[in-house]
Symmetry: D2
Subunit: 283 residues, 4 copies
């Protein structure tokens, strides 16, 4: 079972949590914590094996008063895989990568649906198998149609009990409303090293600026475009020899590994929100 919590930092949090688990005869197999001095906030992630017969609801009930006392934001989860929906465009390298990792059991998730604004035939390089696919078309500049499409999308998210939405190079900007509705449970991969090149065609921007390193950024989606809390970033060296097309190619490799790491860490409850930032307890 995985317990995560954040709360105002003060004496006795670790003692209280560890004593609570000891009293229930739970066995801690991993624990990481972090106290942020500037905001006086404490973060913790504990992985433990409960005593035989000790079930999640009982532990939850027992922990609630302690959590209330320390004003904790907290979650308690068993190891059950999370329900994940993946949105994609014709640039399906992140989708292909996520599905492969899922198939070899690298990502503990259950895929509720693949969604795209393009028809299934255009997602041409990936074997979707039996996964439900939904084509939710969009028309550039048609705001009403977009609102309608997002309503359908949100309904689909709810009907499938989707817990995490992954924008795997979806290439569409979510509305403020949808962004807010999915706060903390929607991860986007931006194809630049934020805050470096925001907006469209970042590899072309990078080429024009003559940078010597390019990168990608996985972040939670917020209404404030490209400003959401960053989960993971990575980079690669480039040179003057690289055309924008080379950057796009090299970028695909960065994007897919950055997104996969971010998704994995989210699924393992390693990412805790800290205002506009994240605390990531690495594996």
């Amino acid at each position: 079972m995985i317990l995560t919590l954040s709360c105002p930092d003060r004496h006795g949090i670790v003692a209280a949590v560890s004593s609570f688990l000891l009293a229930r005869d739970a066995n801690i197999s991993d624990a990481q914590q972090f106290g942020d001095a500037s905001s006086n906030t404490f973060f913790m992630r504990v992985v433990f094996e409960p005593a035989d017969g000790d079930a999640q609801p009982a532990i939850r009930d027992a922990f609630a008063p302690l959590a209330a006392r320390f004003e904790m934001d907290w979650t308690l989860r068993g190891g059950e895989p999370r329900k994940v929906m993946i949105l994609t465009s014709r640039f399906d390298h992140c989708l292909a990568d996520l599905l492969y990792r899922w198939r070899i059991d690298e990502l503990p998730m259950q895929v509720t649906a693949i969604v795209s604004n393009h028809p299934r035939e255009l997602i041409g390089h990936v074997d979707l198998g039996d996964l439900p696919f939904h084509h939710l078309p969009l028309k550039a500049g048609d705001a009403a149609a977009k609102a309608e499409q997002e309503k359908t999308l949100l309904r689909l998210i709810e009907e499938t009990d989707t817990e995490l939405v992954v924008l795997a190079r979806y290439m569409q900007i979510l509305s403020d409303d949808l962004s807010r509705a999915l706060e903390g449970r929607c991860i986007n991969i931006h194809h630049s090293f934020l805050p470096g090149f925001k907006g469209a065609k970042p590899y072309h921007q990078a080429h024009a600026r003559g940078v010597k390193v390019i990168g990608a950024t996985a972040h939670y989606v917020t209404a404030d475009l490209d400003e959401g809390p960053i989960i993971e970033q990575d980079v690669e060296r480039i040179s003057h020899r690289d055309t924008p097309e080379d950057l796009i190619r090299k970028g695909r490799d960065i994007e897919r590994r950055v997104l996969a790491r971010a998704v994995r860490r989210h699924l393992e409850d390693r990412v805790l929100l800290h205002g506009k930032k994240t605390v990531v307890f690495e594996d």
Copy 2:
């Protein structure tokens, strides 16, 4: 001897240059070239051993017509060390690093002077030895004094035949006039991964934004602040545990190695200007 050139790309440049050197019985020990398709510009760097008794002025005269025919921007230099002036502040880690590399013969340069707006006593962690030190004070907000200081600085640059000015965390913004006067021969180290965090206190900006990677950028100084042609960049991973002070400390390591690489490449004629970008023939 090192020949560098850039010119409009067309047939026969390599053949012309290599035949020219062959005819003079020069021995090419290294050659790198690059044709930029988007701007149709050709860049080349050739290291060669001239035939016995063949001197630089003679080669220069002989090459000039060929260069004119291909409309080349070109330089021809022997291996003599370049004259370099280093400007610094109390943050002397880049200065210390450059001087150490110079002392162990890693940087082929002759140091004409160390200049700072702080008195010598404040450059406290570096052994300046017999190097000339000039204290050129500045007063915040006094524009007239600044103009005067820059005049003194420029005169010093001229009197010492300084070929390259290195802003080794000088922490002062050069005026547009001085920037233009030093175009292509003044390298600055900016303590962020440009274009990420421009302006002041980039490590604090990086901390506030919650990035997972920080970097540094060495670039030629232009009147357009933080927009000069980038020579070299590098990065390091950070985490939520890092305070702004940690970022400053980790940043020092990135800054000094990025600046040292940029200076070294400039001194070895490996950096060719390409509009707002650079072509860097790596070693």
Copy 3:
């Protein structure tokens, strides 16, 4: 068209090659060269657009005398995709990655066959599509059967005109004879940072040794196991938290990108053999 060559280093090679191409009105779009001082060997790769109507056989015939004069090892190829056979085991992450890159046109190759010592059902996470699959079983310890299997394999390589064999985590050691027969056209991915951990279970070795960085190595296969010329290597940081299973997982990412880069560079004639080493003209 791509011309690669290596020969004893002496005056006039570049002049001769570039003059040859100029005389045929060919347009050089890229050229890289390298002179190895220690072995006095010269390497060159030239990409050029021949004049209209100038065909490969004619260029080849014309170039032969020049090549002979300089004692060149040389190749001349058009842009036609190479014929590639991929050998795999149940660890199919490299296979999946190569096929995906091939499908999105990142790897200029034609896949002649997928071969495994396991039946097709066990290659479970990859969509093989219509690609020919050959199950060539092996029995541990049965030397005669292995010799037979390799004979079948070699015949298949010949019948399909396969130009490059990729051991994509094939997990079988080729015999000396087969290694020799495939010299310079068989690439293996070794799951360690050679020469660090040779032989079996390198990630377990790395865990036992307590290294802080792991890596992978793509190299040409030679009869001397794990000693073939290295084409590409890459690494990732690890920590004491990583179990051998974590290393295997993290290693998959390194392996697939290292192998893909090596294969790509081979397919683009960027890798020139240099005794037990390689010269790699990077893109």
Copy 4:
């Protein structure tokens, strides 16, 4: 104050330690822990601010019974800087780097002495200031003289209360006896990515093998040469263009940053021994 401990892993360690500190009204500012499943060993590092007037001896006495109960190996230290002796050769880049970092307060240490088998004049690129320098000469092949030199060295270590000995490219192999005497408190920088190239001239070995990445390794010295517990490693990409001299130059940068990180982590009690490996609680 910093508490580090390792012990057999079992229920209640964290609860016991955190309750102990809570009961003394100490304020935990940082805590990291790690349970190694394969060896069933638990590791912990706690940084805490004791209550006003609570002194180290008292805390130590009070903690001892708890430590005994859990069979802990443990240390408790205030923030006082450690006493460090640095051994060097004419390759003084690591020495120069450590001293610079010490001067700008990046390394919390007190330098007891600089020792070399070369006379002070040969340590030519570093300003030693007022630091005690000891010339302890060695004669190649003279075992008796070496034994004598090491006796002098060990006496010096004892007389100066040196807590950590840093071999900053000392280039001499310590005897088994001295290695054992300094177990866990002597850090060496090896100029290769261990276990890649052991023994002498690793950069020449790397060049001969044609690797594409070089590295350096900081480890505790043991009688088993180049096999001591690894604290930190790092790498850089190289290419076929690099001569052995280039590798040596590039290696200097890797060596000094790897050694500095290792020393810093040791000084901050972040490195816990785990058999032939280390647990490093990163900052």
